[in-house]
Symmetry: D2
Subunit: 265 residues, 4 copies
């Protein structure tokens, strides 16, 4: 899980695209120091005509990439009826910002034996985020990781307004780990590295960063907020250099999945 | 459905409580001129320890109330797996504000043969609301009713900020009917009647209003925003009096459900 | 002043442009039923390179238009040092949204013997608006008119989000009259008439509407939200027709200014 | 001024209270490494019955404290007519959040020969902040320092939502220095140190922090967000320790004011 004194970096593309790009990305972020690989098989998209993710095929690619590289997988689940299937593939389940208050889904992932990254809703208060976490916790799943990913304001230069004060605030209110997603939080590649370092300085337990081998050819509009492989490496250099001065160390890649781990995460 | 030139009033308590209070409320709002009765069997609640609705038992009470009074039922469905069950009871399905971007749920109600009231998300733009409606429409369900129910702002005197300009704006952007929920939109009983009349004046096709026989004893916190029966009657007097001056008439109560109607809504 | 049971319509262009267009506009709105004429001589503009108003020359034009038509003048004052000069010309002083919390300015207009229209700040709570009014009241000026003009939210289809619930809310909190500016509140010409009527229905004591003889040639960007003369006449037809059904009558044009009135407003 | 590669810390109480507490605070923050001392003589207060600052007496105390300690003074000016007087005392003028769009005031400080700290309006976009800066710059004053101090959102745990992404965003848009006020930005003492360090990590050129010798006895409500002297010292230890790892050094205290410096700042 996410340990005290460690800083966990989760990286990967917005969506699973081809096996080749997914594998290339996974290898690269693992090599650069990521603890976990993230990529979406099921994508919540505002427009029903946008690419909605590869679905089951995406899960297969993620499993193949894990077998090949050993890197453990974070992926989003969007509906209660798919939790079991997604949890069979994922090492960590992600609940997206649109589903923070999808209570049937929260209860269902509360029954899964997988850690859950719970993203703050776009217009959710910290109080509501904590109540959403309780929906998961009270089903017996203690491994909830809170994720600040930007809230909606009038500002248009950034896609959202990343509320970094949520990090120390949540640390006052709960013992749950808190990570930050500076990619969705800003929507701009150039702002990701400084906000990633600021997250670290604010006391976050980790970051989740979008990385794509060729962001301008991303299948989703999130390419604009994705670092390329070299950009992610440079960010990781800075993270590794700074961590000791904040009394933390980089969390190592999660150990390879074993038949046992596959069930207990 | 909701017809041009008509103003549809949907009224009822936040949640189904007992058979007796639900029946009393349904009789009263039907008598006062409501076209449809609303009450929640499944309640999305921020706090997992709050009353979550009676669930299946609530659906049974709603069916009994319909048999007894003939009034047709609007009720919320919160998860894809329950759409079939809820649609068997409901005459109109409601998608709550927290689920406006619950795309699997939208797809599922798109397959149901029931009209759907789609509430705007707390922080959703009109563009996103329309895209959410498309998720339903593209599954073949043409009967989508958009509902403005207040957005989240910094103001704290009201529970939300009711965005009435959404009504004429949506009229420019879509042919779908638009109704307003001034109860959730304001969170204060005293503000419901003026905002209901303002909705009418802004061009809304109807309103959805919370009414409870004894609001201070409501099982949910929404009692603060519920009209009592006499308050609803007074509001309906005003609505009936004003409608002709806006070139509209009150939509009559939906006809009693027949075996055929039960399937085709 | 603004009387109980009356509905006061204030109309005119964003800015004073030429004597001819200003006169044409004043004549037309007076004829259509406006009680007061509004036009800015000093314009607060985001961009320092935008047209900032004609200043003193604008005040002269306004005085000439009043002499010619008899219509009384509402105009904005932006700095304490100009209150005396602007008050000599204006019959009613306007404090714009950007200056709601300009406390030295509020104090200064509190000393002027002119009614003051105080616009709600773009991000001001009702509580803050009332406190701002107190700054004026406590200097001895009792004639404060509160104006809802839209608040800033994430929505981009409209320029601001017009918070009509502020009208009945303020009616619960204060005895001061409350008017609405649907032009700035929406930023779109097409939305002004429905929101003007909705303001009336919500209980407002009046409206302030931008009207320009040729909106597409307006010297400011506010042309997009200005009605043309025919559009304003149509709106006034609707207002006059509806007022009796809300128990109100149209406020007549303020009486011609006399030497006495010039001092006491 | 604020130099590239330096990190400028501005500290002091919300308001000038007594000579003794002001002197004690100035000595302490100077000793701990602050470059400038901040304290308000004129205070913008929502409620007209709240303490509005000591006014002229406050300026006198600030001058006495500067004579005694040598520390240079930042203080707020709220109206155009007082710019000359306040600039005679202040080494740096502050424009508060409520006055970001007070254009006559911006023009007036544009004529003053003092650097100006321009705070972002509570609901101002970055674009509007930059335009406000232009009002100052185009009068010939090149020494504008932009200050992010939190924007208004729906979140209530914090007083405002500190938008740290504004720091790297502004760095892309302008050459002007950017500082952060984590005290007003959060409204909670406990959140100030982490957000101060996060500001540094995000690339800010400095911070402005409220410090009070006895925060619980502060004459204003801002005591809740003020560090005490020991808390500020601890924060400065962290700042000094971390700066080299971000390629910066602490800006030294501004040199003692000389007759020349008094005029040219």
């Amino acid at each position: 899980m996410i340990e005290n004194g460690q800083f966990t970096v989760i990286a990967g593309p917005c969506a699973v695209e081809t096996y080749e790009t997914t594998l290339a990305c996974a290898r690269s972020v693992l090599n650069a120091g990521a603890a976990l690989f993230r990529a979406g098989a099921y994508k919540p998209r505002t427009n029903p005509k946008s690419f909605q993710g590869l679905g089951d095929k995406g899960l297969e690619i993620l499993e193949a990439v894990r077998r090949e590289t050993g890197i453990r997988i974070v992926t989003e689940v969007m509906e209660p009826g798919l939790v079991e299937k997604v949890a069979a593939c994922a090492d960590v389940l992600q609940i997206g910002t649109r589903n923070m208050s999808n209570f049937p889904l929260l209860k269902e992932v509360g029954k899964a034996r997988r850690p859950v990254i719970l993203k703050r809703g776009m217009a959710a208060t910290l109080d509501e985020l904590l109540h959403a976490a309780e929906y998961i916790l009270q089903e017996g799943n203690e491994h909830v990781i809170l994720c600040e990913r930007g809230i909606r304001t009038f500002e248009t230069y950034t896609r959202n307004t990343l509320d970094l004060s949520a990090v120390p605030a949540l640390k006052e209110l709960t013992h749950l780990p808190v990570i930050v997603d500076p990619s969705h939080g800003t929507g701009r590649r150039s702002l990701v590295p400084p906000m990633a370092l600021a997250s670290l300085a604010a006391g976050a337990d980790g970051i989740m960063v979008e990385v794509h081998p060729d962001p301008d050819r991303s299948w989703t509009s999130d390419g604009k907020q994705s670092l390329d492989l070299a950009g992610f490496e440079r960010l990781m250099e800075d993270v590794k250099r700074l961590l000791p001065h904040f009394g933390k160390e980089l969390a190592p890649a999660w150990p390879k999945r074993t038949p046992h781990a596959a069930r207990l995460a």
